[in-house]
């Protein structure tokens, strides 16, 4: 651990340390292109992009949550509840605007609640969001009476099913999210404060950072983003499904951690998240193309996550 060790290093080792999972992603992509039939086809690429778009969107705000040293388990329930509520309101009022607003509103409400309880009342994020996860899931079932709510407004479906330059709209939205949230994390005071809070919240407080506000804003953004993902999903499947996206929160957190975002806070970047989301998506897509049975896919995904975390730990010990 002497300081000399951190000065000039072998360039290859340095590149590997910095790029980390991006290298794994590149190798994985090339491997799949060569060995998995139909992987590189335009159709499959479109499908792959669409499949990861929802995880990608929500992973953007989850990155902030994790970077600040918290996490949010309620997002899967928010996705479902926002979709259902948007569907119900649209059917009742015949207004897309009102439906979308209601959906986003419930997301914001859940987010503010999470943030307030975690930051001000100082309850552990695990417990807080575990509670809201169940409350919101229940609420989704209540307003839909436990059944899928079909949506009658056809215009609403363009959000999920239209495409620009042959690329589906949700994919564009995700790409924009990656850019915007990446910029916020790297280039704004709020982003840097987020990482500082996650790295040491007491030190951040004593350096004049409004720690509570940062956390509340992050949870709120997380809730709104999950609700938005839920609305896009509802548009794609033309209905609000109260039991959709169970376990989605774990998928998103897995993708972030897989990319190298630290669960203890303070370490993370958008490049990590993009790598994590894409690795997860490609593995799943390849397994589907190779006709791997669903049951085995669970095992494979779990193993990959474990391997990624162990790899990260090994890398950090060496550093």
């Amino acid at each position: 651990m002497s300081s000399a060790r951190h000065s000039p290093r072998k360039p290859i080792a340095e590149f590997f340390d910095k790029a980390g999972m991006l290298v794994v992603l590149a190798i994985l992509f090339m491997g799949c292109s060569v060995f998995v039939e139909n992987f590189l086809s335009w159709r499959n690429m479109q499908g792959l992009a669409l499949a990861v778009s929802m995880t990608g969107m929500v992973a953007c705000t989850m990155l902030f949550c994790l970077a600040a040293g918290d996490f949010d388990l309620s997002i899967g329930s928010v996705v479902a509840c926002a979709g259902v509520l948007a569907a119900v309101v649209m059917n009742k009022t015949e207004s897309i605007t009102l439906g979308v607003t209601a959906g986003l509103g419930i997301g914001a409400l859940v987010g503010v609640t999470n943030g307030y309880v975690v930051a001000k009342l100082r309850i552990n994020a695990l417990i807080t969001t575990l509670a809201t996860m169940q409350i919101v899931r229940g609420f989704g079932f209540i307003i839909s009476d436990g059944k899928a709510v079909g949506i009658g407004l056809e215009d609403f479906f363009t959000l999920g099913s239209s495409a620009l330059f042959g690329i589906p709209t949700p994919v564009w939205i995700t790409a924009v999210c990656f850019a915007v949230f990446g910029f916020i994390l790297n280039r704004t005071v709020f982003g840097r404060d987020t990482l500082a809070v996650g790295g040491n919240s007491e030190a951040s407080h004593l350096a004049g950072i409004a720690v509570d506000h940062v956390k509340i804003i992050i949870f709120t953004a997380q809730g709104v983003m999950a609700a938005f993902a839920g609305i896009v999903l509802a548009s794609r499947i033309t209905s609000g499904q109260p039991n959709t996206s169970q376990g989605f929160e774990l998928e998103v957190i897995s993708a972030c951690v897989l990319g190298g975002v630290s669960l203890t806070g303070g370490v993370g970047s958008m490049a990590f998240v993009i790598a994590g989301v894409l690795i997860m998506g490609i593995v799943q897509n390849a397994m589907n193309l190779l006709n791997v049975a669903t049951f085995y896919q669970y095992v494979a995904r779990g193993l990959i996550l474990l391997a990624a975390v162990l790899f990260d730990r090994w890398k950090r010990r060496r550093a």
């Binding site: 300081s3 951040s204 004593l206």
Partner: protein, 501 residues
């Protein structure tokens, strides 16, 4: 000749940027009490951590009964018969005394604890050290002195033959200290080798047979204590004229600076009032728990005050949070650097700009990248932070350099008052001297410097005036010329103890 019970053989320990121990060799014999002395940062705790198996030496080795040993971890050292009794005791307050004594090796059959056997064994070991405590008492109900006895008994249950004490008397009453000494002498008679770390000269001369003195990680001397005078010990510990490193030069004070009036809050027993002029260095001395850090936190808005006012240059300030204080030019370098100062997983640059970037960002939102780079580099150069680049993670820096980065964080702001809480704790002598220079420079430029220290020579060396805190209140404020180690200590000691001694 019988080999020594414990030998350190050319032991060195390096941390990034600091050599905590270099080439230390000495022997501790069975049936003797061996004192280990040195200033803060001399390497005593590092040595104890190596003994306990918590650190592995970078170089050199330990030998027990002449056999070289390496410990993979602390349980290895325990198994080899070594027990280190720290200031903060490693006991579980929610569990019974008996369970604490046998933690990790409870008498059991098929995983079920044999309670009668446990109680009997606990009684036996408590009797060995002359304690008559019901083994089923919850540890949390015992006094600190009794807990220490339990810790010693626990060492005996593991058959420890080499026992190290780290400042064992720092929180004990006089009577408890006498008990402790009786037991330590008893352990000596039974053939234990004892390593005794303390700052208290009287104790060392009363209790110990040999002494080893460390200074700046170097082994200075090992001798029979009877051959040394107190002055000789001090001289070897310090090794230089103390005044030299403080760089104190009298300077004129400016007008009204910080005025704190009747401030009350958690950790203070009485309202505190003091003032420090612009350009003055104002020392706050007191024992641990006297309320010094709490007072600083209240001024800074890090804790909520229940009454009192803070003003600067005659202007009353409303400070409800650290941000308000920083905006008013009042900044704090906290005592616990790791917990409250640095963000370990972020770079030197991030840690430097943590606060000032709020002012320099475009529209208060978008980072000014070039300012961030320039400021971090300038502060690092100005304060001579030893780091390969400003992008280095701060946790890889030595304590002294981390402290400089935190100073740099505040020098990036417009500072009127700087509150320094134990600014040189755990820092090597070279960096200490640099930090004293920075303090003097700040004061000369008109900044009001408030410095908390529990090291007498330090607070005497740097301050223009010194307030002594005792049990949550300001006991007295002395001028530099009137202050002496004896006076400060007498004022700082809790009243009961002062009467007893």
């Amino acid at each position: 000749m019988v080999p020594a019970a414990l030998s350190f053989d050319h032991v060195s320990k390096e941390f990034p940027g600091v050599k905590a121990l270099s080439d230390v060799s000495f022997h501790v014999h069975a049936g003797s009490i061996h004192a280990l002395m040195g200033e803060n940062g001399a390497g005593k705790s590092t040595l104890l951590k190596i003994l306990s198996g918590a650190y592995a030496p970078s170089d050199g080795s330990l030998a027990i009964d002449g056999q070289a040993r390496t410990f993979a971890d602390t349980s290895d050292a325990l198994a080899a018969g070594i027990a280190v009794i720290y200031q903060e005791l490693h006991l579980v307050p929610e569990m019974s005394v008996a369970e604490n004594l046998f933690l990790g090796h409870l008498p059991q059959k098929f995983g079920i604890v044999n309670r009668p056997a446990l109680a009997a064994a606990a009684r036996k070991h408590l009797a060995l050290i002359g304690e008559d405590i019901d083994p089923w008492t919850k540890l949390g109900q015992l006094s600190l002195g009794q807990r220490q006895m339990v810790e010693i008994a626990k060492a005996l249950t593991r058959g420890a033959r080499i026992i190290a004490f780290d400042e064992p008397t720092s929180s004990l009453s006089d009577r408890e200290v006498r008990r402790l000494f009786t037991i330590i002498r008893d352990l000596r008679t039974r053939g234990c080798a004892i390593l005794y770390v303390s700052h208290r000269m009287e104790e060392i001369f009363e209790l110990c047979d040999q002494i080893t003195i460390l200074r700046d990680g170097q082994h200075v001397a090992t001798a029979e204590l009877a051959t040394l005078t107190r002055d000789a010990v001090v001289q070897r510990m310090v090794g230089r004229k103390l005044a030299d490193i403080y760089n104190y030069i009298p300077r004129p004070h400016g007008g009204t600076g910080l005025v704190v009036e009747g401030i009350c809050g958690p950790g203070l027993a009485e309202p505190c009032t003091f003032s420090a002029a612009a350009g003055e260095i104002f020392g706050l001395f007191g024992l641990i728990g006297a309320g010094r850090s709490e007072l600083l936190k209240l001024i800074f808005g890090g804790a909520a005050k229940t009454a009192g006012t803070v003003s600067f240059a005659g202007r009353a300030l409303t400070i409800a949070s650290p941000r308000h204080a920083i905006e008013a030019g009042i900044v704090l370098c906290p005592e616990d650097r790791k917990k409250e100062g640095i963000v370990p997983v972020r770079s030197v640059l991030e840690n430097t700009n943590l606060s000032a970037r709020r002012r320099t960002a475009h529209a208060g939102i978008f980072i000014d990248e070039s300012w961030e780079q320039t400021n971090a580099r300038d502060r690092s150069t100005q304060l001579r932070v030893k780091t390969p680049s400003v992008h280095q993670l701060i946790r890889h820096l030595s304590g002294g350099n981390q402290q400089k980065v935190i100073l740099g964080r505040w020098l990036s702001e417009k500072v009127n008052v700087i509150l320094l809480d134990e600014p040189t704790r755990g820092i090597d002598v070279g960096a200490k001297s640099e930090i004293y220079t920075i303090m003097q420079d700040l004061a000369r430029s008109g900044v009001c410097v408030i410095v908390v220290s529990s090291e007498l020579p330090e607070v005497l060396g740097v301050s223009d005036r010194i307030a002594v805190m005792r049990q949550g209140k300001i006991a007295a404020i002395l001028d530099r010329a009137d202050a002496s180690q004896e006076k400060l200590l007498k004022l700082a000691l809790p009243l009961e103890t002062a009467r007893a001694s």
